[in-house]
Symmetry: none
Subunit: 190 residues, 4 copies
């Protein structure tokens, strides 16, 4: 009854197997797109038998939800760390600039995965929960340094600038970002 008696067969039980699969899934999506993601390819990359896929996950949708949940957590955690490290208003502004200038552009993988998720969420409400929680986390992180409205606007600005810089052909400087952040932050009139 204890594990001992089944030691030999236990070899098969790999608690990290699920995790391996999820990681592999994110990599496949990043490399081939959602349209190019199949059980086979994920299984091959994760080096698990094809049969494992439908054993560990109900189906593709199940796997995708898990994968994007992990992805969002990674990204949001780093975002929070960036913002939390900033203590003065000036540092906070610089942190926002750095996020736009370095974070997403730095990693092709994250750029692609973000868009795949957005696309999924745009069509399928069952993914809306994920994008929503992502936005809530980043907004909350911003709210620790900015007032709620400014936080919301900065969040949107980060999104827009990131996308436009990623999908443009020409390269743009950092100055533009600094100016944008400054305008949003400088509530003015006040």
């Amino acid at each position: 009854m204890t594990q001992n008696s089944t030691a030999v067969r236990t070899r098969r039980h790999d608690p990290e197997r699920r995790d391996h699969i999820i990681d592999a899934c994110l990599t496949v999506i990043a490399d081939r797109g959602l349209a190019g993601t199949s059980h086979r390819r994920v299984a091959a990359l994760a080096d698990v038998p094809l049969g494992s896929m439908t054993y560990h996950f109900t189906g593709m949708d199940d796997l995708l939800h898990e994968a994007f949940t992990r992805f969002i957590d990674e990204v949001a955690t780093r975002f929070e760390a960036r913002m939390d490290a900033a203590t003065t208003p000036e540092e906070a502004e610089r942190a926002v600039v750095a996020i736009i200038d370095q974070d997403v552009l730095a990693s092709h993988r994250e750029l692609v995965l973000s868009h795949e998720l957005y696309t999924l969420a745009a069509r399928d409400p069952s993914y809306r929960g994920l994008t929503d929680s992502w936005m809530r986390r980043s907004r909350r992180a911003l709210e620790r340094r900015f007032d709620p409205l400014t936080a919301r606007l900065l969040d949107a600005l980060i999104e827009g600038l990131t996308i436009h810089r990623a999908l443009a052909t020409e390269t743009r400087g950092t100055e533009e970002i600094r100016e944008a952040v400054a305008r949003i932050v400088r509530t003015g009139g006040r």
Copy 2:
């Protein structure tokens, strides 16, 4: 009535065939996602034989390029019309607000198609030309009413707010948009 006699035989030569297919393709992408878009489904919706697909288009990629080219043209044209209609600075600001508040959210189809294109462009540089020309057109339209830097920032803001409003669970008011645009536009004080 007279048409009937020729209708059946005329079918062979249909100069609008290509257009029909492109339209159908966009609809299929909007409905089922790029991953769910196949020659078969597009052909079925366009009511053309399957063989027509690779006759009129080199392959899926060719078709997608054509489809998104048309999509972008539609969207950009409307954007330009909105901006051109604004004559005073106040109207220009209101136009930008309206674009965010009404245009994209208004149409599920456009929301989805935009994201599918972004996703494509994020991975495949051959679609970068499309997104790039789209951005250039909207920026140029904005530059008729705002200075170049402001135009670029507004363009990014439109993007970010549109996405966040579309992918959020809660609904947000128009006031937020007005404030964001105002902050970006109100360069002054400097």
Copy 3:
């Protein structure tokens, strides 16, 4: 009768499935030519689902290699048996004559398959290994009864006479073969 109850369900696990497919493949090639050989036709003849084809074989090339490997083995084995059965020099000569006169002409299937393989090998080096090993085996079998040079020349002669007799319209007698073999074998006198 008893088989019936399991026959239907047993079908899933058939260890001879691969072999059946290979056999069917050779038959289809012989009947319709390489140009007329398709997964569909082979699957139909082997009475297996189409999906089996690419499950058991990487692709058409894989299948063809396996099929011709088997074909060569059959032919070479018989060739070796013919030669090994001859014990005296006279019997050896008669064996060579018999091979030309009876073996290949006897079977339309083998004639066609040989040529299909030659054609393949002429263009694609990856089949050269097969033809090469075939030639090596027949030459080695001949070398048990003849000196190496004579063996090589006899091998070529067998090839040439076989082809010409097969592709000629008029029928030719056995006498011609006997004379040819005699001339090649009768090295001496010199």
Copy 4:
């Protein structure tokens, strides 16, 4: 009625068009094999409209017959020239050696086309006439220098040696050929 009246439209009438197509067909067969030969590919290489194919030729079979007829004529003509140039018995022997050593091996194209034709003829009797006339022409050319039986045997030997040398992995010297020819020719003081 005369050509003059239709001068403008005559441009379309290209008497060499058929020839171009036949040449292109041979090249496609040599490059891609019979299995890879299609109206489309031939038309593309010949730079003629696809519709031309079924206009000028009844179908693929018609085209293939024409193509191989031309091919055989080319090869046989050169063979005859080689043999006719030899005036003494010694030169005749050397000519045969040269044919084996240089002619077929020299040209990948001819090697492949020969085998494609053999394969066709092995299965389809309607091509047997072509191979037959080919063999008759080469045999007749040999008979101008050798007695009929020796001519026939030499012809077969040429065939066999050519094939074995082409499809072997190792390279073989010319000496082997000389010896083979010598054995066949030296009918023996008998």
